[in-house]
């Protein structure tokens, strides 16, 4: 064999005798064998060898072998062994990861090879259907790599594969059937595949649910031991999460299928948990279920869906179980935090659930309401920040659309009921508003403001609350104390918290405005802040908030404080601040990124204490009132100028006409610009289409390039180096160059022809070789028959490569 090989090389004029064939050459030979050999055994061996090379020589195998492999999948589809090799090989070349071995191998490119090959493979969607069809083959050697290949393709081109699978007949059914496979590896990998497949595609999510996904997943979780199970349970939950997230149709199905009832028993916490502890996997699993519950009752869902789910959770004792975890000792902080957030959303806006929550007691001695225990954590500096945030959210959700709850909290602060000695929610909050921890101030102010939202009665009730500040001095009202503390504290967070509380309180409540205006220095403070022209970071929010509160004082003013009537205050704003400055201060609030973040969802999304400044409900209030304030100030100004439409002098009338002309003129220009805009848009679209075409052409070129590079390394093209200096030096004479190029081209053609001839020679020789080798075999056989003992030389060099690689 070796003899023949070197002989062949000398004929071809290849590398020096004795050197190994390059990987590319070997790959080329193997690919040739896969496509041309008529013996299945032979093709099988070649495929096995290709598989072994597909990590080291990934690029070569992919570039040269793709078509051969695809063809084999069709032609040899009945042979599980060869299909297995093919699928494994395709898996390797389309893998998202880069293999260690690749470095040793052939050509290296900076492009994402796996993605490129995926693109080449799926250019014909039938290829994907073909792989899908192999899922129906029970043989492990086929089914498993088929799952892995699909996963690999999905990771590289998720959108494309999703679309292809969606429209291939029974595609999703085939994948779903894998969940029932008794071989765990396949089932588990199918889970991972389905997780990727269902990401952000509502149509697929719906079909997967239709295919009884929830039943099957609960079944798998049961087999694995529910939340005590391993990562497979987590995968099941992640898949369920994908199916439910933002998919009201599936949420509806989940609810109608009574799956909510199956969640509560999962939380049963063993008696001896204190000894066994919480394994990291169990923590992850619980996190996932909590996420799943929150997805069902998310504030972003349509109200009717969320409220039915909330009701079902209460009826299925899920809320009870969750509250149980809250009061359990030894629960890890992150689970506790997430459980609080979950309870929050399960009760949010649902009176029944809120009432239940209210009755939950902590197993302390004497028993304390859970709400009180939670609020104690919120105003405790030593508790983890995220836990404190969660408590505030939970408290907010408890009060959301809950007039009775709001009243109960305010009630605990009123003089008449204050004689009982146990700690109350109201007292905790009042303490929190004024203690030394700015974060507590902020949390408590916001919490208190939620007792007042859309509740005029409680706004007035809270005005009655008196505080004994220091022993022996006159008690002052809560609102008075807020306004005083606002001026005294140096902490931005405390100030903003108080301003949000005051704004919520005073909006739509003239008696509160009037009480505020009577606090010494309060108005002066707001004016000074609003008219300041310099600010440090985030102080613009403070100034804007002060301006906002001033505006509320104007709009909801009943003129009961002589110096600060509606008119006086408007003039104050106009003279001291200036309307324009004032308006821009207001819009500084909504322009701030903190505002955008807070306005997005009811839950506080803060990582660090400094991220907390504005809050969701306040943002809503601000949005509702900003324009009212601006309008009121405008009207106030007109009134004080005595200018109404009816009492215009002739001169003013002329002015008005002038303005109308200006407006008409601007209108016309606006239209012109709009026309221009649509023209530009159309042009832009055209360009976009063009660029898309170019992109596609480019992709094709890239593919070709990859192929060419691989071929280059396979030595099919002549080396270039000779030409290079020519280009570098030949700046002088073009004609010379052209001539030289001509000459080279000629030479190139000649060489090509020569190469062609050599290829033919090689082919002939190979044929000869096969011939020889079969004759040799025949001779060997004869010799054996004649009793000669001959060493069994391996029947092909290919196999020996294979074995080296496998080792």
């Amino acid at each position: 064999m070796e003899y023949l090989k070197s002989g062949l090389k000398s004929v071809l004029g290849g590398p020096q005798p004795g050197t190994q064939p390059t990987g590319a050459e070997t790959v080329e030979k193997l690919v040739h064998r896969v496509t041309s050999s008529t013996l299945l055994e032979d093709r099988r061996n070649a495929c096995r060898a290709l598989k072994a090379l597909s990590k080291n020589y990934r690029l070569e195998v992919g570039a040269q072998g793709m078509d051969a492999l695809r063809q084999t999948l069709e032609v040899d589809h009945a042979d599980c062994e060869i299909i297995g090799y093919c699928l494994d090989t395709l898996c390797n070349i389309t893998s998202v990861e880069n293999f260690e071995e690749e470095k040793e191998g052939g050509v290296r490119l900076n492009v994402n090879v796996g993605e490129q090959f995926t693109e080449m493979f799926i250019k014909n969607p039938d290829n994907v259907s073909l792989v899908l069809s192999f899922l129906e083959e029970y043989d492990f050697r086929v089914r498993w790599p088929a799952v892995k290949l699909l996963t690999s393709l999905l990771s590289n081109k998720p959108k494309d594969i999703q679309e292809i699978i969606l429209v291939s007949p029974m595609g999703i059914s085939k994948l779903m059937d894998l969940l029932a496979d008794s071989r765990e590896v396949i089932r588990n990998d199918a889970l991972l595949l389905l997780i990727q497949l269902t990401k952000a595609n509502a149509n697929i999510q719906k079909i997967v649910a239709f295919e009884n996904a929830f039943d099957r997943l609960f079944e798998v979780m049961r087999e694995e031991g529910w939340l005590d199970g391993g990562i497979v349970v987590e995968d099941c939950l992640l898949l369920m999460l994908n199916l439910l997230k933002n998919n009201t149709s599936n949420i509806n199905f989940f609810k109608e299928g009574s799956y909510i009832q199956r969640l509560a028993p999962m939380f049963v916490i063993p008696e001896n948990i204190e000894e066994t502890g919480w394994s990291p996997q169990k923590v992850s699993n619980i996190h996932c279920v909590l996420q799943l519950i929150r997805t069902l009752v998310s504030p972003h869902n349509p109200v009717q869906i969320t409220s039915v789910c909330q009701k079902n959770m209460r009826n299925a004792n899920l809320l009870e179980v969750l509250c149980g975890i809250l009061m359990e000792s030894g629960v890890p902080a992150d689970i506790l935090t997430e459980t609080i957030n979950t309870v929050a959303e399960v009760i949010r806006g649902n009176l029944n659930n809120q009432e239940y929550f209210c009755t939950v007691n902590a197993p302390s001695n004497p028993p304390r309401p859970a709400i009180v225990v939670l609020l104690m954590s919120m105003v405790n500096e030593k508790q983890p920040f995220l836990l404190r945030c969660a408590v505030l959210y939970c408290f907010e959700c408890f009060l959301f659309k809950n007039e009775i709850g709001q009243q109960q909290v305010v009630q605990t602060l009123l003089p008449s009921t204050n004689n009982n000695s146990s700690l109350t929610t109201g007292q905790l909050l009042c303490g929190g508003v004024f203690n030394l921890d700015p974060l507590s101030n902020w949390f408590s102010s916001v919490a208190l403001s939620h007792t007042l939202i859309e509740n005029p009665a409680q706004k007035e009730q809270l005005l009655r609350v008196l505080l004994a500040t220091t022993l022996g001095t006159q008690p002052v009202s809560l609102l008075h104390q807020c306004a005083t503390f606002l001026q005294q504290t140096t902490k931005l967070q405390s100030k903003i918290g108080l301003l949000m509380l005051l704004a919520t309180w005073m909006a739509h409540c003239p008696p509160a405005v009037s009480m505020f205006l009577n606090v010494p220095g309060a108005m002066a403070f707001l004016t000074a802040q609003s008219s300041a022209t310099e600010f440090d970071n985030n102080e613009e929010v403070l100034q804007g908030m002060c301006a906002f509160l001033m505006g509320i004082c104007v709009v909801f003013n009943d003129n009961s404080v002589p110096n600060y009537s509606k008119e006086n205050l408007s003039q104050l704003i106009e003279k001291r601040i200036g309307i324009e400055t004032y308006i821009s201060k207001l819009s500084d609030i909504s322009r701030n990124e903190m505002y955008a973040k807070a306005a997005k969802q009811p839950q506080l999304k803060a990582k660090y204490p400094n991220d907390l400044l504005l809050e969701f409900e306040f943002c809503k209030l601000f949005k509702a009132l900003e324009s009212t304030i601006v309008k009121t100030l405008g009207a106030q100004k007109q009134l004080s100028n005595g200018m109404t439409e009816l009492s215009l002098s002739e001169q003013e009338n002329g002015l008005l006409l002038q303005y109308k002309d200006v407006i008409r003129d601007q209108d016309r220009r606006l239209q012109e610009l709009q026309r221009e805009l649509s023209k530009v848009r159309a042009e832009h679209n055209d360009l976009h289409v063009q660029s898309e075409e170019i992109r596609i052409a480019n992709l094709q070129l890239q593919d070709e390039n990859t192929l060419l590079k691989a071929q280059l390394s396979a030595g099919a093209v002549h080396p270039l180096p000779d030409n290079v200096p020519l280009i570098e030096n030949g700046v002088g004479d073009d004609r010379d160059l052209l001539a030289k190029i001509k000459q080279l081209e000629g030479e190139n053609l000649e060489k090509d022809a020569e190469l062609e001839r050599l290829h033919k020679d090689q082919d002939d020789l190979l044929e000869l070789l096969t011939d020889q080798s079969s004759r040799l075999n025949a001779f060997k056989a004869r010799l054996r028959e004649l009793g000669e003992n001959i060493e069994d030389d391996d029947d092909s060099d290919v196999n020996s490569i294979d074995e080296n690689d496998v080792k």
């Binding site: 595609g171 239709f210 049961r222």
Partner: protein, 213 residues
């Protein structure tokens, strides 16, 4: 809450024939005159009684997918019943029935019950397809037929319930393999001896607030 059987339905047919409205009328007993995409009721469920047995219907509306037949195809295999709907005021929706039917027959299990529905029967003045034509088509292809109005609710209950009765009878005759969930039929929890028990104590939760559906 508990049921003897659960049947899966799909509703198919051209866009605008009233599929979503039929579902809404059946599950919520209301009519949505203006097409409101934000509602997105693409799944609905209701309990009905046949022969004194509680039967839960789970219905998938193939909303927004009419243009992508291949997506709708994914639903055929797992469905026990299909409502094939056309609009009596638009002949082309009637003309397309053949392709819908071919698709359904090709991709569904052979026992799937198909109910042909001529919807919008309240719009008599704008009728383009005679009732007799619907009947003839149904007879020719072995379907059950009914004209309905999602607006006035006429025949809507009947359409869904008759389909269920048909499936129920097939079960009694032993035609359906009820142990194969891929047929779109499930046996209720207490009726199935092999039902996997729930973890923890078997305490039946939701006893108080029962009839949510």
């Amino acid at each position: 809450m508990s049921y003897a059987y659960l049947f899966k339905y799909i509703i198919i047919g051209d866009t605008g024939v009233g599929k979503s409205c039929l579902l809404l009328q059946f599950t919520d007993k209301r009519f949505q005159p203006v097409h409101d995409l934000t509602i997105g009721v693409e799944f609905g469920a209701r309990m009905i009684t046949i022969d004194g047995k509680q039967i839960k219907l789970q219905i998938w509306d193939t909303a927004g997918q009419e243009a992508f037949r291949s997506i709708t195809r994914s639903y055929y295999r797992g469905a026990a019943g299909a409502l094939l709907v056309y609009d009596i005021t638009r002949r082309e929706t009637f003309n397309h029935l053949t392709t819908w039917l071919e698709d359904a027959r090709q991709h569904s299990n052979s026992n799937m019950v198909i109910m042909l529905i001529g919807n919008k029967s309240d719009l008599e003045s704008r009728r383009e397809v005679k009732k007799e034509e619907g009947e003839a088509f149904a007879r020719e292809h072995g379907l059950v037929f009914m004209e309905t109005s999602a607006k006035t609710a006429a025949n809507v209950e009947e359409a869904f319930i008759n389909t269920a009765r048909e499936i129920y009878e097939k079960i009694q005759e032993g035609v359906f393999d009820i142990n194969n969930e891929a047929n779109g039929i499930k046996i209720g929890p207490q009726h199935s001896p092999t039902n996997p028990s729930l973890p923890g104590t078997g305490g039946q939760g939701g006893s108080q607030g029962g009839g949510c559906c």
